[in-house]
Structures are given as C-alpha cells and as structure tokens.
Symmetry: C2
C-alpha cells in the first residue's frame, strides 16, 4: 500500500500516474481541504473534486480542474443577476450537481469523508480518496498591508497577483484527521508527497494534529516530488508564496522546508546541479524528469517515485 498527500491539479496528476503503474486499490490519497469554501450556500471541496474527477476520467483535460463537457448555465444567470460580482468562482452545471449532493449529505449529518467516498464511487475511483479532515480547516491569507482573506478569494478572486504576508489554517488546532488518514500514513510501505503547492496544499495536511508527526516518524519511507523546477512553479503561485514567506525558491529550499518529514526528494533534471545542496539538507536526492507533460512522462515519474521508495511496479 502507498499513501499520497495531495493538493489539486498537481496532486491529481501524480495520483493518476501512480494509479497507472500500481493497482488503484493499493493507493490512498490524503487530500487538502484547507481551500474548501462555502459558496452561495454550497460546500465546495476543490482539491478533493479535482482528484476524484481526474481519477474518474471526468476532469476537463484542458484546465486540469472542473468537469469535461461542462456547461455554464447557472453561472451565466448568476453573472447576469449580480453584474458579475458574485460569479468570481466558476461553478459548472455538472460540477454544481456534486456540490448540491455534498451539501445535502453534510446537512443530513454525513461526514465529509463519507460523502467523498460516495462521490468517488459514482466515478468508479479505485484509489481511496480521503479528505485530510472531516472538520473545517480554512486556509486564510494575510495580504501585504494586513488584510486577511480566504484562500479562494486570494487564489481565484485576486488570481494570486498580490503580495502575501502570511498564511494560516484556521481551525486546524481542533481538527482531527479523517478516519483512515493516520492508519494510511502510518501503515503504508511508502508515503508520496505530490508536487503540489507546499504552502497551501501540503502544509495544511501536515498541520492537522497527528498528521505531521506520523509522517515525520515515517520520514525514511517518504518520497516527495519537488513542485519547484528550475526555480519556478510549473503552475500557480507556489514560487511566489515560498519567496514571500522566506523560503528559497529552489529544490534546495524545498528540501530544507520539508526535511523534517521527507527522506527523499525527487527533483527534475533541470535541477541536477542542486542535488548536493538537497542532500546537505539531510534529504536524499533523486534526479529524473519530473514534468508530467504527457502520459509517458507521468508514468515515468511514477515509476521513478516508486523506485526511489524501493517499490516494484508494473
């Protein structure tokens, strides 16, 4: 069994690659829910949905998030009614069906992990997809200047084109890992940290009480894929956030940040010259192409990750 810690787009691509070289039933994903948001009354879990849609073959291959063949009637109405103001977060019609379902089930008293399993079942997802917690954890971003906003307002509303002073995970102290999370992380042959945003996708998962400690104890069985390649994020604001929060934007910076939890860091060939610096942070360094530009590249990366963890694959 292997367990992967994942955010949205990068995480789901890594998971899909892993599921193409291992039986899906051997894989558990622990997914960030810090960027969940209640929007227009609906509980939206963007990272969980991206993982489920991707593994279920229902994701939009163009964007990496949302549904393939999506329609936008509801959003068009909301845009017309609010002169655009309330339509800042795109919710497709099919995607809305997921949110209606999740919101109803939560109101009925179901836990987020139960609802996630139900949605994954509808898509025939063999990977066990677990939200990091059934409790509400909210990633909050303090902008330069001091104003604090929700993560989605920063990420989607402001397109992460603003300076950030700090990030916190409101409610995380009281949050419990979702059922199965600690067992999966503690009992797997290998823990994979996906190439997701370290600050807002991986850090919230590690911040859930018990999770960080469990991963740290398994450090020698933890293989991470660097989300930073040649000093930049492939996608999103990871590079900018790392820099703003005082980290070096390089695989060496990632290694130093993740050293308490990660025994092996897989870095791209573009960063081969930094392997020694990674190792000097106490993290074993594996150099291989890490950019999942297509299926072949993704599969090769998954194999390299399993190799790094000493697992056999097909």
């Amino acid at each position: 069994m292997i367990t992967a810690i994942a955010g949205g787009v990068g995480g789901s691509r890594m998971l899909r690659a892993l599921a193409s070289v291992l039986p899906a039933e051997r894989i558990t994903a622990v997914v960030n829910t810090g960027d969940d948001i209640v929007l227009h009354g609906l509980h939206v879990s963007p990272d969980v949905d991206t993982v489920v849609y991707t593994l279920g073959g229902a994701a939009n291959p163009g964007t990496g998030w949302g549904r393939v063949g999506e329609t936008w009637e509801a959003m068009g109405e909301l845009r017309a009614l609010s002169a655009g103001r309330l339509a800042w977060f795109n919710l497709g019609d099919r995607d809305l069906g997921t949110h209606l379902y999740r919101t109803s089930r939560l109101a009925e008293g179901a836990a987020l992990s139960e609802v996630t399993a139900e949605i994954a079942r509808r898509w025939g997802v063999g990977v066990t997809v677990l939200p990091m917690s059934d409790d509400r954890v909210e990633t909050r971003v303090t902008l330069a200047g001091g104003r604090e906003i929700g993560f989605q307002e920063y990420f989607v509303g402001l397109r992460h084109e603003v300076g950030v002073e700090s990030v916190r995970f409101a409610g995380v102290e009281a949050a419990r890992p979702a059922p199965g999370v600690l067992d999966a992380l503690g009992g797997s042959e290998l823990v994979v940290v996906c190439p997701s945003n370290p600050v807002v996708s991986i850090a919230p998962v590690l911040a859930v009480p018990g999770v960080g400690d469990t991963v740290a104890r398994r450090r020698e069985r933890v293989v991470a894929v660097s989300p930073i390649v040649a000093g930049a994020a492939l996608k999103g604001p990871a590079d900018r956030l790392l820099s703003e929060l005082g980290h070096e934007v390089s695989v060496a910076g990632v290694a130093r940040m993740w050293a308490p939890w990660v025994g092996t860091l897989v870095v791209d060939v573009a960063d081969a010259d930094l392997a020694a610096e990674v190792e000097s942070a106490g993290v074993r360094c594996v150099v291989t192409p890490t950019v999942m530009s297509g299926p072949a590249e993704s599969v090769a990366l998954a194999r390299a990750v399993l190799d790094a963890g000493g697992l056999s694959w097909s």
Copy 2:
C-alpha cells in the same frame, strides 16, 4: 394602484393578465413564501420565482413554472450521485443561478424583499413583486396518520397524493409583513385575490400578522377569483385540501371561507347556478369565464376583475 395576493402558477397567470390591461407600474403583487424551502443549502422561493419568471417572459410556458429553455445538467449529476433520492425537487441549471444568487445575497444580509426586487429587475418586471414577509414562514402539512412534513415534500415529493389532516404556517406568528406589503394592501384602489390554492397559497399570506386584518378592513375593495371551477381545482390539490380540511369544494364553499376578507367573488360561468349561494354568504358574486386557457381568455378575465372592482382599463 392595485395589489394582488398570489401563489405560484395561478397567481402568476392572473398577474400577467392584469399587467396586460393595466400599466405594470400600477400593480403590486404580494406573493406567498410559505412554500419556500432550503434545498441542498440553497434558498428556493418557488412562488416568487414563478411570478417573476412569468412576468419577465422567462417562464416555461409548458409547465407554468421553471425557466424556458432550461437545461438539467446539475440535476442529472445529483440524480446519479444519490440514485435519485435527492433529486425529488427539480432545479434546472438556469433556475439554480437564481437560487445561488438569492442564497448569496441573503447570506450577505440582504432581505428577501430586496433580493426579490433585484431578481425582478434583471427580468425587467414592472410589477412590484413583494414576498409576503422577509421572515421565515414554513407551511407544514400533517398527513393522515399524524406525520408532519414540509409543504414541498407533500406537494412535490409525494405529488399531493396523500391524505392531509391539517396545515400550519410555522413561524407565522413572529413574521412581519415585508416592507411595502401593508401599504400596498391598505392603500390600493383594489385588492385582487388571485385564483391560487386557498389553503396553501392565499392562507399563508393572510396569516402574516397585520395582513389579514388589513385586507379585511378593505373588504369592499377586495375582488377574488375562485380557484374552484365546477367543484374542482383547475390544477393542483386545492379541491382535495379544501375537502380534507372541512370546506365545501365549490364556489359557495370558497365564498364562505373568504367572506371575512373578500367583498366580491368572481366565479366561472360553470358555477352560475351557485351565485345566489355565494351572495347568501355575504359575498357579491360576478359570473364570467374564469379559465385562463389562452391570452384572450386571460385578458377578458382581468378586465372582468377590474370591472368588478369598478376600475377602468385599457
């Protein structure tokens, strides 16, 4: 100025007819919100939406409710995810846009009457559409046997194919009429009671503290159109509910029930033989074709109603 008390489909057809013979700006609609429901986290106001969509030319002419040219992607997903269980109340994609907007605005602190005005503006509705109250009033139905359920569970979920013991309007004692309601009812030249369900569309409006008294004081200026024609409802469970709650299912029964509030009852030609019985209830009776089977019939009914109230029309 005239003010109409309205439920959903019957009310909106009467309002559209009135707006075709009077300037829309002279008409105020006070609309039932007792059948509002929070569904999957969204605040749905079926009667208000039916009135606004109908007056705005956006209603589905086939059903009388919902949007013309509607799509059903979200509902299809919800049906697939819940094996049908949670998809008992149809919410089209475009309609969902309205509910997303309403739910967001209410969460922002806007009153239902404000949101209703905003939605009506988007459709260019000239009639002033007022919910009966900004406070939550919930029509609850006790079934034969004693189980109490929400109105929509009875009406949509069970297709009103069950016996009813009683109906109550939970929260109505504490509800205040929405801003403008009492002024409109108290100050109009004419109050029209639309041919809506007396038990679950008109009664909740009259039950809002102050509304029934205000209408009763204007009794001589109140003209109602009977929702019962030839001993039956044209649509929906009005006949069955009246009978189950101990009322005679006839225009005479309607006259006796509404006598405290209604000075004139407009009945269909099919009920001409009951005119004397209506009058013996102390209610003036006007006999005219009341079935709005097409635009010409609807306009003729609107003119007859205004005639009955002594108003001139164009």
